[in-house]
């Protein structure tokens, strides 16, 4: 049976520590390039800080981890790629990017509403010797290609291998935990198979507090968010951009 891997990220638990970003970069051999900036960097997992637009005591801030949303329906990046470097994996629902096939036209980046795709503006380089610390199982990308979150497919590979070695057909989800999920100190990210109704993640994705970014565009993202705070949900649903102002319900002080 085919799985549909996805995540539910509880924004109320996110303290914006950045562990997920670090773990992601380490797992996927993302180089730390001195030339790169916030505009040109490689951050397959990017925690963004947003606020309710108010000031002083009424101000609220929260953190929204942005990664590839692995859109299920009419996936914007898949249909635009001229040479099939992007595809929705049938067995897992993972939207995957093949750097070796990519020609770097960046059409997929313009197509992605989440800006979850990143371009290798430079060849990857590491300080002398540090390439010894690269994670085996993840090939490093070259300059001029697009990359993004592949849901730690190297971990999926080893999970498959382990299953095969023990004669099982299906992988044990305990063996397949993406780096960001594993790293989160508050357990804010829940990863699972959304196709399985009993999976905790799939259940959480159906909770009333759950929502998806730009769901109204209709691309059926498989990354859900969750927050009890009304202003956060209002922000996520609004289309009015950063000018939004929402008063908080709880008064501090």
């Amino acid at each position: 049976m085919s799985a549909r891997y996805g995540m539910v990220i509880d924004l109320d638990r996110c303290t914006g520590c950045g562990s997920c970003m670090m773990a992601c970069a380490a797992e996927n051999n993302v180089p730390s390039l001195p030339q790169a900036t916030a505009r040109t960097g490689l951050t397959p997992m990017l925690v963004r800080k947003v606020s309710n637009g108010m000031e002083g005591i009424a101000r609220r801030e929260t953190f929204i981890p942005i990664l590839c949303m692995h859109c299920e329906h009419d996936t914007p990046c898949v249909k635009v790629c001229p040479q099939q470097a992007v595809e929705v994996d049938k067995a897992t629902g993972i939207v995957m990017q093949m750097p070796q096939r990519c020609l770097g036209c960046r059409y997929c980046m313009t197509a992605c509403p989440y800006h979850a795709r990143y371009f290798n503006w430079w060849d990857p380089t590491w300080p002398a010797g540090m390439e010894k610390s690269l994670n085996p199982g993840v090939a490093s990308r070259m300059r001029g290609v697009v990359e993004k979150c592949n849901m730690c497919h190297a971990r999926l590979h080893s999970a498959k291998e382990k299953a095969a070695a023990s004669g099982k057909r299906e992988i044990d989800l305990a063996d397949y935990v993406p780096a960001c999920v594993e790293a989160c100190p508050t357990g804010a990210i829940r990863f699972g198979n959304l196709a399985d109704k009993n999976d905790p993640a799939s259940q959480e994705s159906r909770s009333p507090d759950a929502f998806r970014l730009l769901a109204r565009i209709g691309t059926e993202p498989k990354v859900y968010y969750k927050s009890k705070e009304a202003w956060v949900r209002a922000l996520a649903e609004s289309s009015s951009g950063p000018s939004l102002k929402v008063a908080p319900e709880v008064q501090h002080g």
Binding site: Q83, L103, C105, A111, H115, F119, R143, S239
Partner: protein
């Protein structure tokens, strides 16, 4: 370069210039070329930097993944549409009176398309893998369509260009070339047909390129079958602006050389065609805009006003695009009184071309600048000198190729015995 023309004097390169044609002295010609040559050289250097060090030489970034270059591609390909459209009118619709500008049309088209392809090759991160598109094409991608059609059409244009090239006085001396040219010339009507078909598709798919972007509500359009409305709008706008651009080019050459190259009424005819098509385009564009603002965009929860709340990309741009640079030139080009006056005609043509360029600019640049996520900001991007230089390089390349073609090839002299090819003449 002044309009004075040196006559009855043997020029250094006289034997290369067609008999009976008068050209300025070689030195003055070179003087005219030299500044352009410099621009081209700088452009090639900049392009070299981008190819050698990669796209970090540009000022594009992860959110502004397309920049000046894509605007250039879309722009010049739209203006180059004059080539296929004139071919179409002459050979398919048998409008023989347009024949005098046919060669110019082909040369201009060739320049625009080769320039665009060159820029595309710099614009992709791994040019050596660009050919994978032909090996593993994704048939659902507009870009695949563009790639196939543009490369095929560039081939067609070269084939159309060759016979003109072979009419050079020296090359004609080689018997085999003469034969080849004659054979090839029989083929030209067919090529024109093929070219028309190809162009129709890629002009369209260039529009589709942005129209299909569901994730960019500013650009996304509903459409017919697999094609978003921009697909058809692009075809229309391209064939509307093509003739106007040809008119401008020819007029410039006449100004520079101080010669009258085409029959005086030709401009009016071109202008009229351009004007009518422009009018149709403006109508279609307005309807499309209304549908988009009132149905398409609200349906995905984007309020129209928010696209235009960011200076300097306010509603004035929309107004300029449709009225100032659309409706107005359409009127000037078709209205008898204004069309009769060369000055009006040309400035109208200029406006029309500007309108098309603005449309391409809005679609390529504003689309990326407008925020999609609720917490995104409006983006700014200024191209790096490398981008600008390679942009200029393409322009210079165009001027140089055209100047050379004009000097050494009989662009405007309709070759004798040719009329027999065309019926109803």
């Amino acid at each position: 370069m002044a309009s004075a023309v040196v006559t009855n004097s043997r020029l250094a390169d006289q034997k290369w210039i067609a008999r009976g044609e008068e050209r300025t002295s070689l030195s003055r010609f070179l003087l005219w070329l030299s500044p352009w040559a410099v621009v081209l050289a700088v452009g090639i250097y900049a392009a070299g930097l981008c190819l050698y060090y990669g796209l970090n030489q540009t000022n594009m970034d992860n959110r502004f993944a397309f920049g000046l270059w894509i605007f250039l591609d879309l722009g010049i390909i739209a203006l180059g549409a004059g080539a296929f459209f004139t071919g179409f009118l002459v050979y398919i619709l048998k409008r023989a009176e347009l024949r005098p500008i046919l060669n110019t049309a082909v040369v201009v088209g060739f320049i625009c398309y080769s320039g665009a392809v060159a820029i595309l090759m710099i614009d992709v991160g791994q040019p050596l893998r660009a050919w994978f598109t032909f090996w593993h094409p994704n048939t659902h991608s507009m870009l695949t369509e563009v790639t196939f059609c543009i490369s095929c059409y560039l081939l067609v244009l070269s084939l159309e260009y060759i016979p003109i090239l072979l009419r050079n006085r020296q090359l004609r001396k080689l018997p085999s070339f003469l034969v080849f040219e004659h054979q090839l010339h029989k083929l030209v009507p067919v090529l024109a047909g093929v070219g028309t078909l190809l162009s129709f598709f890629h002009q369209g798919s260039l529009g589709g390129l942005y129209g299909v972007l569901r994730g960019r509500p500013f650009a996304f359009r509903e459409g017919f079958f697999i094609w978003p409305s921009t697909f058809f709008l692009f075809i229309l706008s391209a064939i509307a602006s093509g003739p106007s651009f040809l008119m401008l080019v020819t007029a410039t050459v006449e100004k520079v050389t101080g010669k009258c190259l085409v029959p005086p009424d030709l401009f009016r005819r071109l202008g009229f065609i351009s004007g009518i098509l422009l009018a149709i385009y403006v109508a279609a564009k307005s309807i499309d805009t209304l549908i988009w603002l009132n149905i398409t965009s609200p349906s995905v929860g984007f309020a129209p006003w928010q696209y235009y709340m960011h200076k300097p990309f306010g509603t004035p741009i929309l107004f300029a695009e449709i009225v100032l640079l659309g409706l107005l030139p359409a009127f000037l080009l078709t209205y008898r009184k204004t069309a009769a006056r060369r000055g009006w005609l040309l400035s109208a043509a200029a406006l029309a071309c500007a309108g098309i360029l603005l449309n391409r600019f809005v679609l390529t640049v504003q689309t990326l600048a407008v925020p999609t996520l609720p917490f995104d900001e409006f983006l700014q991007y200024t191209p790096s000198w490398q981008e600008v230089a390679s942009f200029g390089g393409v322009i210079a390349y165009g001027v140089i190729v055209y100047s050379l073609s004009y000097r050494y090839l009989p662009l405007f002299a309709a070759p004798k015995g040719e009329n027999t090819h065309v019926s109803g003449d």
